[in-house]
Assembly symmetry: D2
Homo-oligomer: 334 residues x 4
């Protein structure tokens, strides 16, 4: 970390600041320039509150050289994390497709879809039981019943299941859920992240609509700081000025995150684009970008899906997608 | 609501869709064009799931004419809402300044600041006990002790208090807090909004960093749909590409929200800009834009504030701000 | 186009508006609702000024059903445009890689790079002679000399050349340049677009940093309306709040534009990410997204490039990229 | 400027870089840390190409301490610039209102509006003769005839005139125009900026839709580097995800630019919001934010304006705005 002192800072002020840095365990290197004094801080600066530092009247600016995340940081954990989800591995070269409907609607629906996507090569089943909807008047999911139906589908097909939590008080209901998803709107619900950090569940953490990669990694850090290191990151589009697509899928995030962290990275082209016609193409692009997995909405009857039907594929369309993605994976690994 | 049907829709498909609309209580007006058929839907369309509609294969596009929020909508509630906060009125011409530190740090600090800001004309005291911080390693607030200290400051000064909640499970601790703040990161924590909708507390709802005014109003709707109509909206800056200021304060939101809703609108220039030097000016601008109130960070010792000191004013600076804001208020009301 | 009239519009006002629409050649369908009257307008609405319409006091809102671009619109030109660039075809299944340095710096440099990228499979050579730089103090290109050197490289290698124009007055200098590039900052320099529309040059039109796909197509329309139909569109990243990458590469733009237009679509991952380490991966992703071509910065000595070196590949790195892209192309076409 | 070297940089590499810095006239201070070496560079770093520096393989990151603009920088020019426009002063406490129609349409229109706005207190007349429109099919202005009519209105009323240029080749037509406006879409048309830098005209430079304050100042620098120091900056809204207003008016830009530069700052609430109902309020807010002037669209017949009527005020509405703005000015200056 580098701190630049303002012109006019007295030697006493400078020394008192250096003292403070040394007290919190940092080594300080001072470089005196004509106009500015520059302090180089060495040590575990992830615990320094940058906002506090910037607020000091003698500070011109502060710049981190190392990132403020530690557990998620590739610098301290060079190898890719491989996460075992009930026998299905993700990360470190292991690629998985999570597929299923936006919402669990009925026994027939979820088991029907589960069987179909398994045949096409999906290795995890997704389905929403708790749906965060912008409007209080829209369908919000089947809640406990939805989880029950997912567990039946798991029993029937053997696919581990992924479902979104919207309230940490519901954790008990997720006892047998394999992967707990934190949705984009809850990415900075820090209280919930802390509680998930005390579980032994795999957490799929979706990037918020207006969150930077650094904030995504800091949210992963919240979970990991609690002791739960099994976090999967998910790029699902960010909010921009473009309106043709629902959000803007930021695929550069995949190789960028790959550099920054050892955690597995999954891409959700269904929510990102919000348009089913674009999902196959963007799934292929995500695979080419090096994602460790995909999350795809599939519905046996997309036209009557209770939510987000616009972005769901039919099982046949998903089948085509899975074939294409497999080919692209082979092409980039050759 | 207008639905445009795709070319090639058969009369049977059209009739079956119209039937469905009529079943949910809407009146349907059909207009046949050369290329497209247009359906005009009259009635309570706030309960129509627009995503579902758009997913139908015969639909070209859907457009709402009326907004999907009802309780918050000025169309159904023409007069400004005036909210009584322990005797302090806000809205409908009543202007209030909420002031205080980002975080409650000690008894001396909070009572000291409270007395000073009251003298300068603040009518509500703010102070954070639960702080949502991007990093798990940053200071997160004094929690229950912080609330206790706020209540002492209230007793000492008579100022009603405003504090942020980050977990609905803490609601019991907010028993004597006058205004519960929902922070930007929790604006779409719908589970929490629903729980707050079942309380009789005044809720200060901050706009999310990447949320539209419509989404802000839909989140207010979540609270109001539960029976709690005492919601204050707060503009606090949105995330854009500009980096000189922390966020971009969207002051046009004030007159725009004024048209759309009857709820009081408050502006927080401290968090929006993140720079204490800009706060006085932007507070004056917010008053000129017609805000019903301001939320200002004041610290008796900003240089050593445990968080967000960069944006805090000293009591003297706040005093000057309050004088200027009062003058601007008079200028626009003359 | 649909126009919704405000409540309270009199029959006379409505009829006078309908009369006006009919006078500009549109058919009008009237649908009377309980609260609103809806007018459906059929005909060539691309010539209706939507801003003007919205400004009328009796108009609630206006919505286009068809897009306001015509020459670029796939609806009126179903087949992919194939553009012949001195014998090199692009579009309609023909994929090309444009490679070369950001700036032309010397004879040795440009000819050296040209030979190397040709060997690796590049089919067009790029090189900047006029460089739009944010700072007036940065290197702005060799101008006429740069064009001369590019033409020598063309002679030496046979590769058609692509170079950016920043002032229509320089058109004469581009006499022998095969493809004239319009940079992101000039995408809405309408005067220049009109002048390029009167030439018979192939135009590579880059999307502006904050421009929507619709605006990109409207800018293509400016060129095409002048009679020059040989336009290639280029996605090169948009400006968002994310700062790890220079811009956010919007790869969904590729399949989305594919639906909207028949023009070839090229992707520039070098400028979009601004980081050479990400270019190979994002080039593969762009190919998987269905791009008709790529634009890649290659420099024989990236460390000493006079501009934008951070995003340039070495010839060896480019060679690897070209092999990977070829494999991905095969994978998605299988 | 600070440059951080990568771990593993050899002393030879470091020394060779330092040598290079010294050769371009910079003083170098070296601070050796455990992991990183930090170079502090003192001198005129505005001429250092930061992109080039970042591209070097031994560089971890580079950070400017001082801004890369010089002529526009308040650090080197502490006093506010006051610009004399035909006897009308702007900047340094002199506040002016520029008013008039979006487009010049006819003799009667422009002279009628000019007289009315002058009565209400406008001190400069605006009117577009060259209109950059997104669609080639929209009205593009009266060109030379428009300028003629503006000059007649100037003769009639004595108001200096402001009009937009879209092509530097038209400069001769602007001979008698007092202020030449560079529109948002041309803010980075560097070739045109350079040509304007060689004139002795006052230039009103509008901020681009996706441009940072730093880029705005760099574009001013282009003009000033040519010798023309009479530049007025104009905030007119930036592009964000919010769609209720056309753009997001960034009023914090006013006090922020005030710190960074000595140039006058004008705000255009008409284009920013795109909604005439919001203009009065946002004009008052801009005045409270400390703007040196306003640019307001006024039309004698907004409903039939040939462009942008939605954001135009009637002369009566403008009269009310001017009164309110005057009162706010007095309030903040008291």
């Amino acid at each position: 970390m580098i701190a630049v002192l303002k012109q006019g800072t007295t030697p006493e002020q400078r020394d008192s600041l250096c003292e403070w840095f040394r007290n919190i365990g940092l080594e300080v290197h001072i470089s005196e320039g004509k106009f500015h004094t520059i302090l180089g801080l060495i040590g575990d600066t992830s615990r320094v509150d940058i906002g506090l530092l910037e607020s000091l009247s003698i500070i011109e600016s502060v710049k981190r050289i190392s990132e403020p995340f530690k557990n998620a940081n590739r610098k301290f954990h060079a190898e890719d994390s491989v996460i075992d989800i009930g026998g299905v591995l993700i990360g470190g070269g292991n690629f998985q497709i999570i597929a299923g409907p936006c919402s669990v609607e009925s026994r027939d629906q979820i088991i029907g879809v589960a069987k179909r996507v398994k045949e096409s090569g999906a290795t995890l089943l997704r389905g929403g039981a708790f749906k965060p909807r912008t409007s209080p008047y829209d369908f919000q999911g089947l809640h406990a019943d939805g989880i029950e139906l997912l567990l039946e589908a798991k029993k029937e097909t053997g696919l581990p299941i992924v479902s979104e939590i919207t309230n940490a008080n519901d954790l008990e209901l997720f006892r047998d859920v394999d992967v707990i998803q934190v949705g984009a709107r809850n990415m900075q619900n820090f209280d919930m992240l802390k509680q998930l950090g005390r579980t032994n569940k795999v957490i799929l953490l979706k990037r918020g609509l207006a969150n930077t990669l650094k904030e995504l990694l800091m949210s992963a850090e919240y979970i990991m700081a609690g002791g739960n290191e099994r976090v999967i990151l998910c790029e699902r589009g960010i909010r921009t000025f473009e309106t043709y697509t629902r959000n803007t899928l930021d695929l550069s995030a995949v190789p960028m995150l790959r550099e920054l962290t050892h955690l597995p990275i999954v891409v959700d082209p269904s929510h990102a684009t919000g348009i089913s016609r674009l999902v196959e193409t963007m799934a292929a692009a995500a695979a080419a970008a090096g994602a460790d997995g995909l999350m795809i909405e599939v519905h046996n009857d997309p036209e009557h899906a209770l939510c987000d039907g616009a972005q769901s594929l039919t099982p046949d369309q998903f089948d085509r997608l899975a074939v294409k993605v497999r080919r692209v994976r082979e092409a980039i690994l050759k």
